[in-house]
């Protein structure tokens, strides 16, 4: 048993060291003959052992979404970066916001992303995200036009060193709509502290009707409110 597991551990270590990307236990098992196929329990055992074997080393065995991966401990990344010939790519805010929306709101259509961001999303961004294999089509929304629904991939999680979506930073708290309404409803409910202060009110009343504002408001009167 003991000896066997050491051997198994070495093989798994070799496989993970040689791999191009993370390997799942299933993938690791494929390297073995039927005759010596290790069971899952043994696999987990040696994987756990490897994690602690490397505790003092400059590399660590981590688990990301699609499996296990040896990687350099982040303490030493600055030196590795200095050695690398290429600068790491930087991503635009537009791309990152789009990616964030897909990650947190998946499945989501491009139209829905545009609605939340308030601007159109360029095709380049969608293409880049798909080429990097960070997002992919996961279906179509059953509405006219059948827009594509996007979700994130394992590659996305692997790239950002995550084992699952739950490890993403939590979203900023959204104060719920009801309470916003309550707070804004400054007519009757006197108990509410968040009344618009008289001075704000006055300021609003005073300087409001700049001409073009009035104009566009008129023009807008019989059309539905934008964005609604």
């Amino acid at each position: 048993m003991m000896a066997d597991n050491t051997r198994l551990k070495r093989i798994v270590e070799a496989l993970l060291m040689a791999a191009d990307g993370p390997l799942s236990t299933e993938q690791l098992q494929k390297a073995f003959d039927e005759a010596e196929l290790p069971d899952k329990a043994d696999m987990r055992l040696v994987l756990d052992e490897l994690v602690s074997d490397y505790a003092d080393s400059a590399v660590e065995l981590v688990r990301v979404a699609s499996g296990y991966r040896f990687q350099v401990r982040q303490d030493w990344s600055p030196w590795v970066r200095r050695m690398a010939s290429e600068r790491p790519g930087r991503y635009s805010r537009a791309l990152l916001e789009t990616l964030a929306l897909v990650a947190y709101r998946q499945p989501i259509t491009r139209g829905e992303i545009e609605e939340i961001r308030g601007v159109s999303v360029s095709s380049n961004i969608m293409r880049t995200l798909q080429e990097r294999d960070w997002i992919r089509s996961v279906g179509q929304r059953d509405v006219p036009g059948r827009p594509t629904l996007f979700g994130t991939t394992r590659t996305f999680l692997d790239y950002f060193n995550l084992a699952s979506l739950e490890q993403l930073p939590t979203l900023m708290e959204l104060r719920d709509f009801e309470s916003i309404n309550a707070e804004l409803d400054f007519g009757e409910d006197q108990g509410n502290e968040r009344q618009v202060t008289p001075s704000t009110e006055a300021a609003m009343a005073e300087d409001a009707p700049a001409d073009e504002v009035a104009d566009s408001a008129d023009a807008d009167d019989d059309s539905p409110a934008p964005g609604s």
């Binding site: 990687q71 982040q74 308030g118 566009s216």
Partner: protein
Amino acid sequence: MTTEEQQTGARGDQAEMPFAVVQGEPYTTMPRDLYIPPDALEVFLEAFEGPLDLLLYLIRRQNLDILDIPLAQITRQYMEYVEMMKALRLELAAEYLVMAAMLAEIKSRMLLPRRQEAEEEENDPRAELIRRLQEYERYKQAAEDIDAMPRMERDVFAVNPESGSQKVVRTMPETTLRELLVAFREVVARSQLYTHHQVRREALSVRERMSSVLGSLAGDEYVEFTHLFTPEEGRAGVVVTFLALLELVRESLIEVVQATPFAPLYLRTSGSRAGGEERVSEQ
């Protein structure tokens, strides 16, 4: 109170939040007038990811709670901004105008006298705007968080040892010339490549030769001009090599030196210059 005074008043106690640097000068406030040079404005425009982003900036800049937006003031600032962009005929994304209309509409509704019953049925007109701003801000924040997370190529480096002294025979995916050409057609169709550069067959053989000449000039060494030609290729080959050399010189990829008139020409890659000079200075 004049508009002018209000503006200064409102700006007096703002937190300084430089959001753009134009020609070395940090800008901490939104442009208030049209004295901003057009290229600076373009930087402002690029600094924002659309109208929601701009509105958020206007609100945050004054340390205001989203729920407390002084709508009139924000609307006015927003309009000034949009007007400036229009005046300078910057290409203005339609979204900015839609937002302008939305703000104007909300503002006008807020000014109308309301009856209580109506109010109960009808939400505050700002609610929708606030909802959108809040929602956008969440994801704006989430994007920053994601950007700060450790990621491959920048913070996380996978190990990469040799996988054995015997070369591992890896099965590579296969592809075909057709697939390659389909891919090329598509990229050409997408880009302006077709209109800008006519890639002709002639040019192609020259470009190929450019690569191989560059390859043979890989070191820091000078190579004699004549050594780059292969007489066995015949006239056509020599012409192609010569054209490739001319093109390489034109693109500043190689340099040609000649000590004295009629002396042999020597070539090397422009890239080796820096290294060469360094070595000279070390000696």
